[in-house]
Symmetry: C2
């Protein structure tokens, strides 16, 4: 298991409620893939959303996002953290 940071673009104007709902949609299906979405941060102005997760692979992280209806534009494995 390792950590991943994924990035979504084009989310201009996202609200706190929409971010919460998207996160809940991930949490609802993540167990099937052995993934856990820990946190997410959104910049409504540039339309950028960052999601931090732990899971077996970038592909598993993407499958959760796809099933939740919001495919990530980038997924980076981040094995190093401070």
């Amino acid at each position: 298991m390792t950590h991943f940071m994924d990035v979504h673009h084009g989310m201009q104007g996202i609200t706190a409620e929409q971010l919460h709902e998207a996160h809940q949609a991930d949490l609802a299906v993540e167990k099937d893939e052995g993934v856990h979405f820990e946190r997410a941060w959104a910049d409504p102005r540039s339309g950028t959303v960052y999601c931090l997760s732990e899971g077996p692979s970038a592909e598993a992280v993407q499958r959760v996002h796809e099933r939740a209806g919001h495919r990530a534009d980038e997924i980076h494995e981040v094995p190093l953290t401070v």
Copy 2:
């Protein structure tokens, strides 16, 4: 005070020790700008580093990174979080 996610590119091959040293360099000078760097994540393969901070402005965050010797390529204010 709000949160910021900043991104550094071109850090291919960064090690855990280098990430730790860079973070310590930020911590050493951040107080002058009223910024606090909370966490950072690195992907040595793509050379991407993400830093999460809290501070008064993106400019203040950038000034800390500049004084620490590693200017950020992108800084996004992330007022929304889950």
